[in-house]
Symmetry: C2
Subunit: 414 residues, 2 copies
């Protein structure tokens, strides 16, 4: 049997076995996993070291090596993350609806796992544990395909997960790793619809685009965030400055950080004169000509700047003459993630919330709140910015689907 | 601007305009449409006649010509269908959740339309009106791509829809038809992710497979139904015969009809001796060797027979030695649509419902009930047999997504 097909067959078998596993068994496995991660810290770090040595040999950047690196503290954080997911309530089995039909048939709509989830990610070995834990807790089976640079770390972590599953009486192959990290195998993986129900890519925009273009398995797009803060004519200036600053600089590397500030032309001078001193020497601005009169603009902003996800202390800025123009700009350049209006005008706030097409639309609050923890959903597998299935932070419930159970006593259709 | 791009831009503009359209305006448009269909019956039939003449010239089958043909009665049925959708309640705007965060942020989860839906279908012109009506009622904009054989009918129907929209004050381009039915344009249509949020193919297995393979836009798979009836050892024979007969023969051409009967070996003789006389000269059976001892089998069933969606008075049959073997067979050959067990044994019933992975799992009832009308959901755009987004009959609610609205008074993240 071909390599990937074998993983697929294993996964389907594990999927079936997972049907009989309840919440307490899953929690037992997660607790064992947390213990085993701590107990195996040394071997994890020594396998990780092989990856680091290779990465340095391949002249990878310091930031890359940092993302790849596991330390004692980072392993402890992983174990904490597992226990945190363990403490969340189990979404599987929830009856979300039910009714009796005209002919006496009893219909029950019940939450069930998605089935087999494929996770494609880059060289952050913590994703291995993080994704596997969320999949397990929601009753799913997963096949992980991480970047080749982290293969030694990922293989060690997967073995620890599998041993923990076995010890708890769960199917070992509920979590598997694609150890062949060639491009050909990755391409085949994205066509494995016979075995995989959903693919979730986790990583940069390039990875996500590649999966969307090449996969015939249904994909959930996550984490593409070109988010905007629009400062309306009727904004309170103090609040506007505080929100814009928070949305851009509190953690610029993440998807819910702002990438463009739109400011109504009537308050552009006042707004930027207050914000500029805060950002002096810290945030690079690419502004349009109207804005550049009031801020130090590195260059005049291009359409490419407005479409860019900088993930850095860089921001594009534009003057607009109405909430309507702001909404048009967002429709053109946004990624349907998180969008904010700062205003005290009710009509403009309502219009913005109604017309802006995004997972999360904010009035007078920072875009940085789009997050499973902040929303109270618990840990998340990612923030969906597509419209099918789930939108925004994807917690455990969003890793489930449903089925209809219909109980009869001989009903046939006339 | 390129042809499809123009349709895309029109659709996005209409999508925005639809944000301001409430339930009463949508209903007004649907009522006008129903009237206009009746008032334009003659012109619809005369355009349809062109398609029929072409189809006959191209030596299409009688069944094909029948599906293509519109009569006065069929136009009246279309108009009735429009009024029926009009009478359903509007799912848009429903608040499905909401809570206050630790920092005072007010989160509201609200149901919104999916946006722009692409419908790809074959040569049944009634789909034009049917799909457009469901999309409109759920606040969506649609772009229809029907088969080239029905182009004259579809163009006339689309014009009537657009005129009705305009008369009701709705955006004309909320419904558009791809009039260029070339293969190249179809391929480009499936890559139009910039403008289209979801693609829904409606038609045979070949069409659906082609869309799934070639689309980079998210797809909802519908209508692939290799459904099974499993007659357990503990079945009541009368009920088993009645359900098997209904599931196969009540309407064999549809996706929720049964394609394979699995019978426990302990009752195989009794069961088939009762069912065979009913099916004599009516249903062709492809049975395995164990079953062929009791029924007139056309040939010994192959794996291809077990995988086939006959959509006809043909059935595959197999003897199994346990509910477990039945479930294994279904996992291998089923399409996750509708599956049935006939049994009086509680344990077997519960096991079957738990382990069988399908949109609808029946105990002691015909698979033919998997249907939006039968389930009480109203008219449906199709029956999803994938797990992302929606499963089973897709009514108006399943044509929506949600967004989070977050209201604050200056909250920023620490």
């Amino acid at each position: 049997m071909e390599y990937l097909e074998k993983l697929g067959v294993n996964a389907k078998k594990a999927e079936r076995e997972m049907c009989g596993i309840g919440a307490s068994d899953k929690n037992k496995a997660l607790k064992i996993l947390a213990e085993n991660l701590l107990a195996n810290t040394d071997s994890i770090i020594s396998e990780n070291l092989k990856d680091i040595v290779n990465a340095k040999k391949n002249n990878m950047s310091a930031a890359f090596v940092d993302r790849l690196s596991l330390t004692k503290e980072r392993v402890a954080q992983m174990a904490d993350g597992v226990l945190e997911v363990c403490s969340l309530s189990d979404p599987v089995g929830e009856v979300t609806g039910g009714w009796e039909l005209y002919n006496g048939l009893e219909v029950t709509k019940k939450r069930v796992p998605l089935g087999v989830i494929g996770i494609i990610f880059e060289s952050r070995p913590n994703v291995t544990v993080d994704a596997a834990t969320l999949c397990l807790k929601s009753g799913n089976v997963c096949i992980l395909r991480g970047g080749s640079d982290a293969i030694n770390s990922n293989a060690r972590l997967t073995a620890i997960i599998q041993d923990s599953l076995e010890k708890a009486g769960l199917p070992r192959f509920a979590v598997q790793l694609v150890e062949d990290t060639s491009r050909e195998t990755a391409a085949k993986f994205m066509g494995l619809g016979q075995y995989i129900d959903v693919l979730i890519p986790r990583g940069g925009a390039g990875l996500i685009r590649a999966v969307v273009e090449n996969s015939s398995v249904p994909v959930i797009r996550t984490g593409e965030g070109v988010c905007h803060v629009y400062i309306d004519k009727y904004a309170t200036l103090d609040m506007a400055v505080k929100i814009a600053d928070n949305a851009k600089t509190q953690r610029p590397s993440v998807c819910n950080a702002a990438e463009t500030i739109l400011v109504h032309k009537d308050i552009i001078k006042d707004f930027w004169e207050r914000l500029s001193p805060l950002w002096e020497g810290k945030v690079v601005i690419y502004a349009d000509e109207a804005t550049a009169r009031y801020v130090k603009s590195e260059r005049i902003a291009t359409d490419d700047d407005y479409a860019a996800e900088f993930n850095d202390n860089i921001i594009a800025a534009k003057a607009v003459d109405s909430v309507n123009e702001a909404v048009e700009h967002i429709a053109r350049f946004g990624t349907k993630h998180s969008e904010c209006i700062v205003t005290e005008n009710l009509k403009n706030a309502e219009f913005f919330m109604k017309v802006v097409d995004a997972a999360a639309v904010y009035v007078n609050a920072s875009t940085r709140f789009t997050d499973g923890q902040q929303f109270g959903l618990g840990a998340e597998i990612g923030i969906s910015n597509q419209k099918l299935h789930a939108r925004g932070p994807m917690g455990l419930s969003e890793l489930t689907t449903y089925k209809y159970l219909i109980r009869g006593d001989g009903q046939t259709r006339e």
